[in-house]
Amino acid sequence: MSEIKTHARAVADVIDGLIVASVEIARTPERVFQALSSREIVDWWVNPGVFDTREWSGDVRVGGRWHASGIARGAPYSLEGEFLEVDPPRKLVQTWHRQGTPGAPSTLTYMLEPIAGGTRLTVRHAGIAAPDQRNNMSAGWRTSCDRLSEILPTRKG
């Protein structure tokens, strides 16, 4: 499946507090959708010892709730939200809120499209609130992601 690109890409729009990321995966949209909407999330929102999602549960239907919790740099965190759009295997939209923080939740949109040899997954994380509301989580993730960034390029995708 040589058409599939090796690396994920992600860009930030500072003005709008928006992240857009994409990756190509040599699996069907149905298979990828399953990984986005099931407890499999604990397998990829994780960097052992630094950022570790331990639990995920979700009622994957419009209006259903989801919840995730784990440990980031030794401190527990808890995320929750509501599914706004559930259209397997094409699209999944959910709100995203860290418990115990003020402010409106952000919105996470997954879009899946079939390509030659697999699926292109695009993530749009919009409406990320001002730093005073999300600073702690950001700090935890920044550290975990920096360390993951150091590790990942040395491994074959």
């Binding site: 994920a8 040599a26 990829w44 990320i128 993730w141 920044r142 990942l152």
Partner: protein
């Protein structure tokens, strides 16, 4: 003012489209309030009010030249905000890479 408060001010300041346009204009070169008001076909008090918000967020700096204040872009706060959002950007990049690896290994 703490660093976090300063960053919040930056977000508030750039939430307004007129202020974003003012920043874009000032990136082309420093200007005084009168010139900016003419460029934007806006009243000088209205422009001065926006400039004050931008100044308080430290997105612009003003220099007194004779009787005039000349405004210029200060790029540092926006870089600081960009650094904060970088945590999310990096999170998605590494998470999606991990997702790809997990699925393709199975």
């Amino acid at each position: 003012m703490s660093r976090i408060e300063a960053k919040t001010d930056v977000f508030r300041a750039i939430a307004d489209p007129t202020r974003r346009a003012l920043l874009d204009r000032l990136r082309a070169g420093p200007a005084n309030a009168g010139t900016l008001a003419a460029d934007f076909r806006s009243s000088r008090p209205a422009v001065s009010k926006h400039l004050r918000v931008l100044r308080e967020a430290r997105l612009v700096v003003d220099t007194r030249i004779g009787r005039e204040r000349v405004y210029a872009v200060n790029p540092v706060p926006l870089q600081s905000v960009a650094g904060w959002l970088e945590g999310y950007r990096a999170f998605w990049q590494v998470s999606l890479t991990r997702l790809k690896r997990n699925l393709e290994e199975k």
